[in-house]
């Protein structure tokens, strides 16, 4: 027993010593590795200079062989980062080389695939050609992907500017039940290099096959587009379709920035809480109504100040402030509804009691 325990501990000590030596070597080697990487970057700069002059120092076979190595790809990426003009020409002239590399990286681990997709996203010029095979290769990276490689693949697809692969990627990720943050999706879609309106319309048309996070991402993206082209469609979806809660919230929020008259009665109805299943949506609707200035809106918002939901009261007060309502105009009886008064006091910045006190002081000062 004693001997076995000792043997195990000796074994552990040996492994830990190896770990320790690895760490120390890593620390001491880091300068050398950095110098070597700088050397590689200089080589790539020389190559890119010669490429720009029309007489590249390496043939495409050598470039291909080198870029198969992730360290070389990193150096290539750094060399490209300091340039602006030659990159587009390089990628246009070496389309087949990039495609071959994309195929090679398909066999590598997800981490390296993610980096290749990152380089494509950063430098590959938009390619509207529907037949371009590069997006297909990138979509293949999704097969055994991590959240990072998915994000980088999506970024590359946005940069290429072709609608179909983006749609395909969204469907694939939804089918596999992969979560992707809606903020990342909407931010990414905004970087799309093709027709954004067309993209939003196409993606929204496939909403039935997409999971909640993708639906919300598309709605956030549509919200950032100018024009109210989607309002009618979105309103119909809000009224008639069974959509996930977060999607419905995003739809209601859409009508804040895109105030269309036909949305007003729906929002008013939501704030009044007339539709029992949508009671929570009143929170978002109370905020969206800030974009619909008229008497009925003000009246409904004033009533919403007495809502049992704290957030409805808060958003109603904020919307009333945006609509220019003063404390007096709200007509709130401070004796009757303490919660409404507190919220208004804070949001409108008007404190009746404090104002009266101030007036009294002014009178005293005048006397």
């Amino acid at each position: 027993m004693r001997m076995q325990v000792r043997a195990v501990i000796y074994f552990y000590i040996f492994i830990c010593a190896v770990l320790l030596i690895f760490n120390l070597l890593y620390i001491f080697r880091s300068d050398r590795v950095r110098r070597r990487q700088q050397k590689k970057i200089r080589h790539w700069n020389t190559y890119l200079d010669s490429f720009a002059e029309g007489s590249p120092v390496w043939d495409s076979g050598k470039v291909f062989r080198r870029l198969q190595n992730i360290q070389e790809l990193m150096a290539f990426h750094e060399a490209l980062e300091s340039r602006s003009q030659e990159t587009e020409a390089f990628f246009r002239e070496n389309g087949s080389l990039i495609l071959a590399l994309a195929k090679t990286y398909r066999e590598k681990e997800a981490m390296e695939q993610a980096f290749f997709a990152y380089v494509v996203a950063a430098f590959y010029p938009p390619e509207k050609d529907q037949q371009d095979p590069l997006p297909e290769q990138l979509l293949g990276y999704l097969d055994r992907s991590t959240v990072y490689s998915r994000e980088n693949v999506l970024s590359a697809l946005y940069a290429l500017g072709n609608i179909q692969p983006v749609e395909h990627a969204f469907l694939l990720m939804s089918q596999r039940g992969w979560y992707h943050d809606s903020r990342l999706l909407s931010d990414g879609l905004n970087r799309f290099q093709g027709e954004k309106e067309l993209l939003a319309a196409r993606l929204w048309s496939r909403r039935g096959q997409l999971t909640e996070c993708f639906q919300v991402g598309i709605l956030r993206f549509a919200d950032t587009l100018s024009g109210d082209g989607f309002a009618e469609n979105f309103l119909r979806a809000l009224q008639t379709e069974q959509l996930p809660t977060e999607t419905r919230f995003a739809l209601v929020r859409y009508f804040r920035r895109h105030a269309v008259p036909c949305a007003r009665p729906v929002l008013l109805q939501l704030v009044k809480g007339e539709t029992a299943r949508d009671r929570e949506l009143a929170i978002a609707a109370a905020a969206s109504l800030a974009s619909y200035p008229d008497d009925e809106t003000r009246q409904v918002l004033k009533e919403a100040l007495r809502s049992p939901n704290w957030y409805v009261r808060q958003n109603a007060a904020r919307s009333l402030k945006i609509l220019g309502m003063t404390w007096e105009e709200t007509g709130i009886d401070s004796g009757k509804d303490r919660y409404a008064v507190e919220m208004l006091e804070y949001i409108l910045g008007a404190r009746p009691a404090a104002e009266e006190e101030k007036k009294e002081k002014e009178v005293l000062a005048a006397v």
Partner: protein
């Protein structure tokens, strides 16, 4: 009689050999896994495997403060300079008797406002709310009746406006990119309800006095000259590298340090918020989240993000260290006993087995087990059964093993954070590791044993620790 003693000592020998073997295996696995994960994270960062987003998640930073007039301004100033787009800072003055509030009110020209606060979780009365009119980031100060750290955090949660909140101690400083780093797990997975960050000893660093967003970015690293603080540097590096990363591998972390943790607000509120009747409210909350999510069969994940760094002041005198560790151990005891229903229940999976058992046997009861071991050793010597040579060799072997683990963890941190240290510090680190593992562990054992013995007397005593300004801390 002598036969019985002989049998008992034999049994003890087997128990202690197994106990140490399991502990050695646990440490080995955790350091090896930690090293591998950090190496991988470092590589992932180098080849752009990360989620970058300009908007990020809106986060409310909660700073509970009780008699923190010395450090509070440094802390809030550093928080207002974080490299993050959307967040708010809420300082909760938990009935301080010093000028904690006044320091902030004067410096930021804060004004009292009549802000309505929704009491989602019960907390002691909030006496006044102040807001800073001129800061880029919304800064709020709550003055409330004293109710303890958990109660202060509950008040902060009630006043917060964003869906995630981050708690940080008033004596800590966040690294400029910590917020960006700590939200990464939340962006990766919607089921994440809490994320813990890495706590490091603030006395090791000195931030450059940059301006604007560049302030607090550059830092120089040196091991502190204070012996106790230096010892804690080694201890923090080992425990944060070792245990947390391993437990993170199976969603089994039972502690997110109160000094730096991110939480999903609605889940914390649903679970009942921070407990106000324990000293280890940070551990209690994490155990509570495990229990709540598993009892309600909700998908959840509690993560640890080693790249999100918070620099926290370590006690620099023995009495202060004594108070801190006694509080930690009492908190651990309260939490472990409160959540004893988790033990070996299939519903709690690895949390109820590996994590709970580790904290029970190797953290909570380790001082008692060690005392029993010492008693057994004395008895064995008396009855002539003690093999002194074996005992000394075994002890030294274990000490060397622990030291190698500690120094591995230390250097792992140095290279993954791209920190440069002097040769002198390398030498000192090696010496400190040996001293810590050969001698200092007995100091900690004594403190923990003392916490047990004085539990009834100290179970509600927080204890005050002397604070110094960050630039004077070293």
């Amino acid at each position: 009689m002598s036969q019985i003693i002989f049998q008992v000592l034999r049994g003890m020998e087997v128990f202690f050999l197994l106990y140490l073997l399991l502990y050695a295996s646990y440490l080995f696995l955790s350091v090896a896994m930690g090293a591998w994960r950090l190496y991988r994270l470092d590589r992932m960062r180098a080849i752009k495997n990360e989620l970058k987003h300009e908007f990020y998640f809106p986060v409310s930073i909660l700073v509970p403060a009780h008699n923190e007039e010395v450090t509070i301004l440094d802390n809030v100033q550093s928080l207002l300079k974080l490299d993050y787009q959307l967040y708010e800072v809420i300082v909760v003055d938990d009935g301080s008797r010093d000028n904690t509030s006044q320091v902030l009110i004067d410096y930021f020209h804060m004004k009292e406002v009549s802000r309505p606060i929704r009491l989602s979780i019960p907390c002691k009365a909030i006496k006044a709310v102040y807001e800073a009119p001129d800061t880029r980031i919304r800064l709020t100060l709550l003055r409330k009746e004293n109710g303890g750290k958990g109660d202060a955090l509950n008040a902060g949660i009630n006043a917060s406006q964003y869906p995630y909140f981050l708690c940080i101690d008033a004596d800590s400083v966040l690294q400029w990119d910590s917020l960006e780093r700590i939200v990464q797990p939340v962006m990766e997975d919607d089921d994440v309800v809490a994320v813990g960050g890495l706590i490091r000893v603030a006395q090791c660093i000195r931030f450059s006095p940059g301006e604007g967003v560049n302030a607090h970015r550059e830092l120089s690293y040196h091991l502190p000259w204070n012996f106790l603080t230096c010892m804690q540097v080694m201890e923090y590096d080992r425990s944060f590298l070792a245990s947390r990363i391993l437990l993170d591998g199976f969603n089994g972390n039972l502690i997110i340090s109160g000094a730096f943790g991110l939480f999903k607000k609605n889940v914390v509120i649903a679970a009942g918020g921070y407990a106000t009747d324990v000293l280890g409210e940070d551990m209690e909350l994490v155990a509570k989240l495990h229990a709540y999510c598993r009892n309600n069969m909700e998908r959840y994940s509690i993560r640890y993000e080693p790249n999100a760094v918070c620099w926290s002041q370590a006690p620099s005198t023995l009495p202060d260290l004594f108070k801190q560790r006694r509080r930690w151990h009492i908190g651990l005891f309260q939490c472990i006993t409160r959540y004893r229903f988790m033990l070996l229940k299939s519903r709690f999976g690895m949390v109820g087995t590996v994590s709970y058992l580790y904290y029970l046997l190797y953290e909570l009861y380790s001082p008692i087990i060690e005392v029993i071991g010492l008693a057994g050793m004395v008895t064995a010597a008396v009855v002539g059964m003690l093999n002194t040579t074996f005992m000394l060799r075994f002890y030294l072997l274990f000490a060397v093993y622990s030291s190698i683990l500690t120094i591995t963890a230390f250097f792992q941190r140095i290279y993954t954070q791209n920190i440069r240290i002097s040769r002198q510090d390398v030498f000192r680190a090696c010496i400190m590791c040996l001293i810590e593992n050969i001698f200092f562990r007995f100091v900690f054992d004594f403190i923990r044993l003392n916490a047990f013995l004085g539990y009834r007397k100290n179970k509600e005593t927080w204890g005050t620790i002397k604070r110094v300004r960050h630039n004077e801390a070293r």
